[in-house]
């Protein structure tokens, strides 16, 4: 199982694309999640936030799609993962490092 994830990642990372945060993606874009990074905005809760996001399906290898934005300043973002839609604030989206699909 682990091999599967690694395989997906390696095929994409081999094209030498630098991962960028999901917060920078535009509406309609489909991306591949490669890493969950730390965000100091969450303080000592950061690890808990990471764990929660993973349990919701935001694990490396997951395909994400930006489906919309909130009222002002493209925040929060509506993200589709594994057929489920979630509302994420920019702070959470910044934790997700992605590459285009």
């Amino acid at each position: 199982m682990k091999a599967l994830t690694v395989e997906i990642l390696s095929t994409h990372t081999s094209s030498a694309v630098t991962p960028h945060s999901l917060a920078e993606c535009s509406k309609g874009q489909q991306v591949l999640l490669v890493e969950l990074s730390a965000n100091p905005a969450f303080g000592d809760q950061d690890l808990a936030v990471t764990a929660r996001m993973k349990s919701l399906g935001f694990v490396p290898g997951a395909q994400l799609k930006v489906i919309g934005y909130g009222l002002f300043g493209r925040d929060p973002l509506a993200i589709q993962v594994n057929g489920t839609k979630f509302a994420l604030r920019r702070a959470e989206a910044q934790k997700l490092l992605v590459i285009p699909l």
Partner: protein, 608 residues
């Protein structure tokens, strides 16, 4: 006796399944984490009795809210006096398998007797999904049963599997080692590609709907339109039903007065009980209409979208989109609203939400508002569509909301904290099920009628007694009530309220209104029916004849803020678990009420 527990993600249809299995009155919703209370019932249709507990919705055992903590503690048997359930019924939304199975794998590691239910199979089939249930069961090492909780015949197979004789032996053959979340998720992905013959994808119409509903401009227009329609409907649709109830109450009163001999019993029945209770009962249609809309919006999946849209603006006042649901519920009643704040992960945000929840105009205030509005505001139309009375009511709601926003902002200044994640699921749109709307509305109506039949009836009798005894001395010049206990108390506290322009009748009404705001209406009915012999029957006409407009407006302003509700204060005490917070809550709201009424009275006198 065996005890089973339903465990699953929010929005997986767990509560619908609970209703179906127990036939109990549980509120069903589509919003993450509405079930915060311990809900239990007996499964119907089994050979031996089984108690079923509906645990709060949870995504993971690595908890992030109080709600999920309760679910986890129940599963692990950590709650004092609660043995761990004999069987876990893991409910998984068949259209959202990846998320649901994530929790199932966490539960597997606990090695407890467990059964997996694939709920909402009708929706899955409608999307063209074919699920190999047997294969899934084999790989999970657990029985897997399909169900359609929203249909009467959707749980037959599940019922068979739940017979205690064999149900408690469902256990994982081999325990799983403690895999990381990443491994579990790729494992699930493999399971799904092996056993699901058509991948789940959200139906196109849902995505198209979302592009409008969650659009920064269209979404806001839709949201405001929905809110406006709700408030107009509360006023306009309820009217015919109100008229019928009023007609019934009037007839009952006339009958009583005709058939009973003149005396104390006749007055007690017609002026005390019938007039008092009847005066509150007429608001049942409005309360039901309001709850109808909240339930429909919840069940359809719209409320989460509204929370998504409102997250940024609410962050401006120190709250989040998550606080939107508790605050919206508070428009019906602050008690369930405050209890729903348990789904807010950030403790400071939760505390602030509790403090401002009662500023959202609850349905108990409607009787007071509608009475005074009808008496003092002309029913003329405004811009051809809206009527002036509706606009006034809207303004009162708006005053509550803006004050709540301001106070939340002020409170947040003192309690600054680090960011907290939103991570809010936007569930699939679903047609609200008439069965569950019916269950929800019946529950609301029952609660209201029980209040009318108990607290309100008792207080009505008490108030009637206070207003009737002692009777006026011989040769008295004033009306009888001025000599009664109520008159004495009202006159005693009236000086405190004199700067607000309140007369002693208004002061009397405030005392029993502490039990429930709507009692102010029945008290006023009692006080004025007793004290004014004008021949005018309607209470509104009585008020219009004896209050000035500034006084009426000040009274409205008082009711926007005053914590005139013992149940709300009690629930604040329970949910904050702090006397200091409760004291602050009561004092700040009364101070605000007094200030607002004072300003309103004096400003209005300048202009009217």
């Amino acid at each position: 006796m065996s005890r089973y527990a339903l465990v699953g993600n929010p929005n997986c249809g767990k509560t619908s399944l609970f209703n179906r299995l127990t036939g109990a009155n549980a509120k069903v919703a589509n919003y993450p984490g509405v079930t915060v209370e311990r809900r239990s019932g007996f499964i119907q249709g089994l050979a031996s009795p089984v108690e079923l507990i509906d645990l709060p919705g949870t995504y993971s055992l690595a908890t992030s809210s109080l709600d999920e903590q309760v679910a986890k503690d129940m599963i692990l048997g950590l709650i004092p006096g609660e043995a761990p359930p004999d069987l876990l019924i893991a409910v998984v939304d068949a259209t959202n398998l990846q998320l649901g199975l994530g929790l199932v794998f966490e539960l597997l590691a606990l090695r407890r007797p467990m059964l997996v239910v694939l709920n909402q199979m009708d929706a899955a089939r409608a999307r063209g999904m074919v699920i190999d249930i047997q294969g899934l069961a084999q790989d999970l090492g657990l029985p897997v049963v399909a169900s359609v909780a929203v249909r009467r015949d959707g749980i037959e197979e599940l019922l068979k599997a739940l017979e205690p004789a064999w149900a408690i032996s469902y256990c994982t053959a081999e325990g799983l080692p403690d895999y990381s979340v990443e491994v579990v998720h790729s494992h699930i992905q493999q399971l799904l590609s092996k056993h699901i013959h058509q991948p789940a994808h959200t139906p196109a119409w849902q995505n198209r709907l979302d592009t409008y509903v969650m659009h920064p401009v269209w979404g806001l227009i839709i949201l405001l339109t929905i809110l406006l329609v709700v408030f107009q409907a509360v006023f306009a649709w309820a009217e015919p039903f109100k008229d019928v109830i009023e007609w019934g109450v009037d007839n009952l009163k006339t009958l009583t007065e005709e058939y009973l001999p003149k005396g104390i019993l006749r007055d007690f029945l017609s002026e005390g009980i019938i007039a008092g209770v009847g005066g509150v009962l007429v608001f049942l249609p409005q309360i039901i209409i309001l709850f109808f809309f909240i339930l429909v919006l919840e069940d359809s999946g719209y409320l989460a979208r509204a929370a998504f849209l409102l997250d940024k603006p609410m962050r401006g006042i120190g709250l989040s989109g998550r606080a939107f649901i508790p605050l919206l519920s508070s428009f019906a009643c602050a008690v369930p609203g405050i209890m729903a704040t348990r789904t807010i992960g950030d403790p400071k945000e939760r505390w602030i939400s509790i403090m401002v929840a009662p500023l959202m105009t609850c349905s108990a205030r409607l009787p007071v508002y509608t009475l005074i509005i009808a008496a003092f505001i002309p029913a003329s139309s405004f811009l051809g569509i809206f009527n002036l009375q509706g606009i006034t009511l809207f303004a009162l709601y708006l005053a509550g909301v803006t004050s709540g926003a301001l106070i939340a902002w002020l409170l947040r200044q003192r309690k600054h904290s680090q960011s907290f994640p939103l991570l809010l699921e936007l569930p699939n749109y679903r047609w609200p099920m008439p069965f569950h709307l019916w269950m929800g509305l019946r529950e609301r109506a029952t609660i209201f009628l029980r209040r009318v039949g108990t607290i309100i009836l008792a207080l009505t009798v008490l108030v009637w007694f206070l207003c009737t005894y002692p009777s006026a001395p011989d040769g008295a010049t004033g009306s009888a009530i001025e000599y009664s206990f109520a008159g004495v108390i009202g006159q005693f506290i009236q000086p405190i309220f004199a700067p607000l322009g309140f007369n002693w009748q208004m002061c009397i009404a405030l005392i029993p209104a502490m039990a429930a705001r709507e009692i102010a209406v029945s008290t006023l009915a009692t006080v004025y029916a007793v004290s004014i012999e004008t021949g005018v029957t309607g209470l509104g006409d009585n008020l219009a004849a004896s209050w000035s407009i500034p006084v009426a407006l000040a009274y409205l302003a008082w009711f926007i803020y005053a914590p005139q509700c013992v149940s709300t204060i009690a629930v604040v005490r329970r949910e904050t678990n702090s006397l200091k917070s409760t004291g602050f809550f009561v004092v700040y709201l009364f101070a605000l009420a007094y200030g607002a009424a004072l300003i309103t009275y004096h400003l209005a006198r300048q202009f009217i």
